[in-house]
C-alpha cells in the first residue's frame, strides 16, 4: 500500500503544481506598469497555507484577510499595485516544501504571509531562511519555530506556550475542573499545545492520549476519557478530528467540559460535532474578535464572513505593504523593516522580539452557545 500512498502524494503535488501555474498567471495579471519613478512594478506578496484540504477553512480566512489588505492598498496606489500569489499546501508539510522551493525561486515575491500551520512552518523554515525571504505567519503557533534561529521568520500571533498556560488557567480558575484528560493529534501544533496545557495543569491531568490526523473513530479514546472520571478534557489539534471526538464523547455519555485550541476554533467544528454535541464547548485562540467595521469591509471583498486569523493575515499583509511604501524593495531591507516594526493592527499591538515572536498577545475563550460558535463575544483569559 506504500506505493499507493506515494502515488497519491505525487499526484497531489503535481496537481498543486498545475493549480499554481494557474494561480500565478491570474495573480500577477493585475500588476500595472510602473508610472512613478520609485515604483517597483510587479511586487508580489505570496501566501503559503491550506486553502483546500481537511482544514482549508482556516486558510480561506487568511487569504480573505490578505485580499482585503491588498484591495485597500491597490485602491490607494492604483499607479503601483501589489500582486498576490496564493500557494495551497493543503496543510501538508511535505507539499509545502515543494511549494517553498517555487516561492523562493520567484523573484517578484517580496514577502510571504504564512506559512499557515506549524508543521509546514517547520518543514519550510530552512528554505525560506536560506533564501532570506521574510515571512510573517498569521497563525503558526508552535513554540519551537521561533527557536530555530531563522532570522526572517515572524508571526503576529501568540505562541502555544502562552495559549497553553491560558487554557490551564481557564480550566483551573473559570471551569474549576478537578480532573482533566488531555488528548492531542500527531501534528507539531497539536502535540506542542497539548504539552503546554499538560505542564500548566500539573497534577490535575487525569490521563492523556494521542490520536492520528485523519482518524475518524475514537472509541478507545472515548472509553479512556470516560473511565478516567475526568470532568473536563482538552484536545490539541484541528477541527476535523476535534468535531468527531466531541461528538463521539457526548454520544458515549461524557458530560464534562470539552475544550480545544485555535485549530478547532471554526464554525466547521460545530457542523462536524453536531449542534448538540458541540454545545458548551470552549475553544481558545490567541486572537480577539474582529473590530466591528472589519467584517463589513471583509465581506465586501470576499463575499464570505471573516474568520479566525483573518485579522492577523490582514495585519501581516499591511506590514509588508508599509515596507513597500517605505521603499524596501529587497528581502534584506524588508526583513530589517519588519524586525523594527511597531504599530497597532486590527488584531492588536504588533512588535516583534529578536526571535520573530510577537511581543504582546492576548488569549481569548470562545464558546459554542445555542448551536453556534460565538465569534463576537469571547472572554479574555488573564
Amino acid at each position: 500500500m506504500g506505493t499507493k500512498h506515494n502515488l497519491r502524494i505525487l499526484a497531489a503535488v503535481s496537481a498543486a503544481g498545475l493549480a499554481l501555474t494557474a494561480c500565478g498567471s491570474t495573480g500577477s495579471s493585475n500588476s500595472s506598469a510602473s508610472s512613478s519613478s520609485d515604483c517597483v512594478s510587479g511586487q508580489t506578496i505570496a501566501f503559503l497555507g491550506a486553502t483546500t484540504g481537511p482544514n482549508g477553512a482556516l486558510g480561506q480566512n487568511m487569504v480573505g484577510g490578505i485580499k482585503l489588505a491588498l484591495d485597500d492598498y491597490n485602491k490607494a496606489h492604483s499607479d503601483c499595485t501589489v500582486a498576490f500569489k496564493p500557494f495551497d499546501s493543503q496543510g501538508d508539510p511535505d507539499q509545502a516544501t515543494t511549494l517553498a522551493t517555487q516561492i523562493v525561486g520567484d523573484d517578484s515575491i517580496i514577502g510571504l504571509v504564512g506559512p499557515g500551520f506549524s508543521g509546514e512552518s517547520l518543514s519550510t523554515g530552512k528554505t525560506f531562511s536560506a533564501a532570506g525571504l521574510p515571512s510573517i505567519s498569521p497563525s503558526a503557533t508552535n513554540v519551537t519555530i521561533t527557536q530555530q534561529g531563522w532570522p526572517t521568520w515572524h508571526r503576529v500571533i501568540g505562541n502555544d506556550s502562552a495559549q497553553g498556560a491560558a487554557v490551564a488557567t481557564y480550566l483551573k480558575d473559570t471551569a474549576k475542573a478537578k480532573k482533566v484528560f488531555v488528548v492531542s493529534d500527531d501534528s507539531d501544533y497539536g502535540k506542542g499545545l497539548a504539552g503546554y496545557v499538560k505542564s500548566g495543569l500539573g497534577s490535575l491531568v487525569a490521563g492523556t492520549d494521542s490520536v492520528a490526523t485523519g482518524q475518524t473513530d475514537f472509541s478507545a479514546t472515548v472509553t479512556a476519557v470516560k473511565s478516567s472520571g475526568a470532568d473536563a478534557m482538552f484536545y490539541g489539534g484541528y477541527y476535523s478530528e476535534a468535531g468527531l471526538l466531541a461528538k463521539q464523547l457526548r454520544q458515549a455519555g461524557y458530560k464534562g467540559l470539552f475544550m480545544s485550541g485555535d485549530g478547532s476554533e471554526d464554525a466547521q467544528f460545530v457542523k462536524i460535532a453536531g449542534a448538540d454535541a458541540a454545545e458548551g464547548a470552549i475553544l481558545t485562540a490567541p486572537a480577539g474578535p474582529a473590530p466591528a467595521d472589519f467584517d463589513a469591509k471583509y465581506q465586501a471583498v470576499n463575499s464570505s464572513p471573516s474568520g479566525l486569523y483573518s485579522t492577523q493575515s490582514f495585519d501581516a499583509t499591511n506590514i509588508f505593504l508599509a515596507g513597500i511604501d517605505a521603499g524596501k524593495t529587497d528581502h534584506a531591507d524588508m526583513n530589517d523593516f519588519i524586525g523594527a516594526y511597531t504599530g497597532t493592527g486590527v488584531s492588536g499591538p504588533i512588535a516583534f522580539d529578536e526571535n520573530g515572536d510577537i511581543k504582546q498577545s492576548a488569549i481569548f475563550a470562545y464558546k459554542v452557545a445555542n448551536g453556534k460558535l460565538d465569534t463576537e463575544n469571547p472572554t479574555p483569559i488573564k
Binding site: 482549508g56 477553512a57 492520549d209 472509541s219 473511565s227 448538540d276
Partner: protein, 333 residues
Amino acid sequence: MNFAFLFNNFFELTITGLALGAIYGLVALGYTMVYGVLQLINFAHSEVFMFGTFAVAWVVVFIHGTDSATQGLGPTLGILAIAFVAACLTSAAIAALVERLAYRPLMRRGAPKLIILISAIGMSFTLAEVMGVRDKLAGWFGLQVRLADYVSQARNVYSSPITINPHGLFPIGNYRVTDVDLLIIGSAVAMMVVLDQFVRRTRLGRGIRAVAQDPESAALMGVNSTRIVQATFLIGGVMAGAAATLYMIRIGSTRQNAGFILGVKAFTAAVMGGIGNLRGALLGGLVLGVAENWGSALFGTQWKDVVAFVLLILILLVRPTGILGESLAKARV
C-alpha cells in the same frame, strides 16, 4: 502497558471495536471478491465506499435539510433506509464504472496484471479528485448556487446534519450495548451471510466460483466471464454502499479522501482473513477492529496501527494465506 484499563473496560472496547471492524469487514468483502475472481487488488474500491458515504449524507440533506439535529435511531430509520438504497446504488454504479473504464478495456487487450493494477490506482485518484472538485463541476452546469448545500467547500469535511444518538439497550459487563452497535454488527453479519449463501447456492454464484477457479474452462463451459466480472464488481459495490451507510450512522462525516485510510484498513482485513475468502473478510475486519481498540487501550491510541499491523504479520507468519486462508474458488457448496 495499561492492562488495568483494558480489563476494566474490556466489554466496551471489544464491542465498539467489533462495530468498527464490521465496517472494515463489509468494505473488505469488495476487495476479496474482486481478488477471488481476477487475482487483482481493486485499489479504486476505497473510492466506491467514499461515494457511498456522500450518497448517504446527500440523501439526509435532501430530505431533512441542513439544520443540525440530534435524534435517536428509531425516528431516523426511514431516512436511513432511503439513504441505504441510495448508497448501495451509488457505490454499485461507481464500482461498475471502475470495471468498465479501468479493467475491461485492459483485460480485453490481454494487458499484464500490473498494468491493470495501475489503472485501478489511477481510477482511485480520479474518483477522489472528482469528488474534491464537485463544486467546480456543478459550476460548469451553472448549478453551483442551487446545489450549494451539496457541493460547496468540496475538499472540506462534509457532515450529515442529523446526529444519531445511540440508545443503551442492555448491559454486557459494565457497558450498555447500544442500538447503533447492534445495528452495525448485526447488519454486517447478515449481509455477509446473505452474500456467502448467494455465492454458494445461486447460478450467478456458481458462475463466480467457476471463473475464480479457472476462467478459461469456465468460458468453455458457457460462462460469460465478462458478465461474471461485472456482477462481482456490482456486488462488491453494494457491500461498500452498506458499509458506507453504517459508517455514516456511526461517524456522520466524510470527505473526498475518506476512503483512503478505511480502504487500507479494509484491505488489511481482507488479507488478514485470507484474501479471496468471503467469511475471512468479515472475520479479518472484526479481528482488526478489536485489535485496534485493545492496542489503543494497552499502548495509547497512537500505537493502534502498530498493534494491528504487527498482528497481521504474526498471523501471516503462522498462516501465510490468512486466518481462514481458503480462496473464493475453493468454496464448496
